[in-house]
């Protein structure tokens, strides 16, 4: 493994049909980074994330997670999908979904969930404010609550790196702040990569920013300029800042 680089993409290209979604993508993420992936709809953020964890195979280029093929280190990955509703009417309770996170990395068949698993799941559920809802069916929850369940499932896996695809898309402001505080806490030991097109994510939590729009521009120190956002979105975007969000300036992309 290269000196504390946890994720390395080299000249990655990917297309669902003919038009490439990602082209010549190079990205190096150091250990304990807190990276925000920004970009417009269809810019390739979710695709990039899925390539990083080996759910999609790039057409060209290489992906190394912890120096290895992503498929072989999946047990180190915590993933929160964008789709919080994989199977809305499925007969399953909240606690069973979160327990699913504990399958992670265990190979032996017939191995039931043990006391440690149940303890971790209990803690996670409490932390996510879901303990009272644990025996509810997923279909009885609201969108925001379901999103919390998805986050809890990723947390319960106790991974080394988190990949979260718009984890706060349908949760309220209060929970959003709580989540980012928690991620900041976890970030002391773990790497966090968050997809968002919500610029407020850029507030005091993230350490670096990558703009994803077919190409990827990485900004190691979190800076932000109007030009950069326009480049990533291909149209002028008003830089909205809420009162408490510090304004940040990023350097221009190197061509």
């Amino acid at each position: 493994m290269t000196n504390n680089i946890v994720l390395e993409l080299e000249n990655v290209r990917f297309a669902y049909s003919r038009t490439p979604v990602l082209e010549n993508v190079c990205l190096c993420v150091p250990e304990r980074d807190f990276l925000a992936l920004l970009g417009p709809n269809g810019g390739g953020k979710t695709t990039l994330l899925k390539i990083c964890i080996g759910l999609l195979k790039p057409e060209a280029g290489s992906v190394k997670l912890f120096g290895k093929d992503p498929q072989s280190v999946r047990h180190l990955v915590g993933y929160v999908p964008q789709e919080t509703n994989p199977n809305a009417f499925f007969p399953i309770r909240v606690i069973d979904v979160v327990l699913m996170g504990r399958i992670n990395g265990r190979r032996g068949i017939l191995k039931r969930y043990n006391d440690v698993d149940h303890e971790v799941v209990k803690e996670t559920l409490k932390c996510m404010g879901l303990w009272e809802l644990r025996n509810k069916r997923i279909s009885d929850l609201s969108g925001g609550q379901r999103q919390r369940v998805m986050i809890a499932r990723a947390l319960a896996a106790q991974p080394k790196i988190f990949f979260m695809d718009e984890p706060t898309a349908s949760v309220d402001r209060v929970f959003q702040t709580e989540l980012y505080e928690l991620l900041k806490d976890l970030n002391r030991e773990k790497t966090v990569i968050v997809v968002s097109h919500d610029l407020s994510v850029l507030s005091s939590y993230v350490k670096s920013v990558a703009c994803v729009n077919r190409k990827v521009y990485y900004h190691s120190a979190a800076e932000l300029t109007q030009e950069m956002i326009e480049e990533a979105y291909h149209c002028p975007v008003e830089l909205v800042t809420h009162g408490r969000i510090p304004h940040r300036v990023l350097q221009e992309h190197e061509r």
């Binding site: 964890i53 047990h75 699913m100 399958i103």
Partner: protein, 270 residues
């Protein structure tokens, strides 16, 4: 009619119904929660090609039908994974093709084929003690499979993408589900018929899916419901001298419609 039925034979039929209920309860639950009912229908109809092959080439019925069902479920599984967006069209094609092959081959076979219908719509009269053994064996395999791999099956069914990340070989489980589905359809072919078995796979899970808290509970409730439908259907068919397969299905669908009506009315006035 009832007085002609030997009591020991009735016991055999009830035992077969019980064992069939277990297979239908487990496989039906998985088929419904994985939204594979159409796929199961495709397998069942394509399997009729196996009936034709057996007639035309003079091969034993059970292995021919099982072989065709397994091959078609393999092809359907492959298209489901590789070309998901076209899979329903391909299911439709395989559905009709298998059926047509069956019909043509039976046309080409000289002689009288009065019992062909019994493969499509079932014929309880033909149940043999050896059938009991086959259904029992299928149940045993199914129960072992879901007990050992319950967590994996749950994860794959609920969220295949997450299951992949959790290191589960999703396509293996997907194919296993399809093969078990094929197996169940073929085993129940003579009992309720290739076409009618779909109703037993889909009606009970459809009824209980919105109310059960877990997949495990759903297996049990569906098995119980299936057994009730079997018994009520068999008794009704004996009483009115109807064919057993369609009667069982009508009892099931009648109960389904009633339950749905009661649910809607109690929702509106409750």
């Amino acid at each position: 009619m009832a007085e002609f039925i030997d009591i020991s034979y009735l016991k055999l039929v009830v035992a077969a119904a019980f064992l069939a209920s277990i297979a239908c309860g487990i496989v039906g639950t998985l088929v419904v929660v994985n939204r594979m009912v159409f796929l199961a229908g495709g397998i069942a109809h394509a399997a009729y090609g196996g009936v034709g092959i057996s007639f035309y080439f003079g091969l034993p019925m059970f292995p021919s039908v099982l072989g065709i069902a397994a091959v078609s479920s393999g092809v359907l599984g492959f298209t489901g994974i590789r070309v998901r967006h076209r899979s329903d069209a391909i299911i439709g094609a395989i559905w009709a093709t298998g059926m047509s092959i069956g019909v043509i081959l039976i046309n080409m076979t000289p002689g009288y084929h009065g019992d062909v219908m019994s493969y499509l719509f079932g014929s309880v009269i033909t149940i043999l003690p050896s059938d009991l053994l086959i259904i029992g064996l299928l149940d045993l395999i199914l129960i072992l499979w879901i007990t050992i791999f319950y967590r994996e099956i749950l994860a794959v069914s609920y969220d295949p993408e997450f299951a992949t990340i959790a290191g589960i070989h999703v396509s293996t489980f997907y194919y296993s589900m399809l093969f078990f589905c094929a197996g169940t359809i073929v085993v129940l072919m003579r009992f309720v018929g290739l076409i009618l078995v779909i109703a037993l796979l889909s009606i009970p899970p459809c009824m209980v899916e919105p109310i059960v808290p877990s997949l495990g509970r759903m297996f049990f409730v569906c098995t119980f419901l299936n057994f009730c439908f079997f018994i009520a259907g068999l008794l009704t068919s004996l009483w009115f001298n109807f064919q057993a397969g369609p009667t069982i299905i009508l009892v099931a669908s009648g109960t389904f419609i009633l339950a749905e009506l009661v649910r809607r009315i109690s929702k509106n006035y409750g």
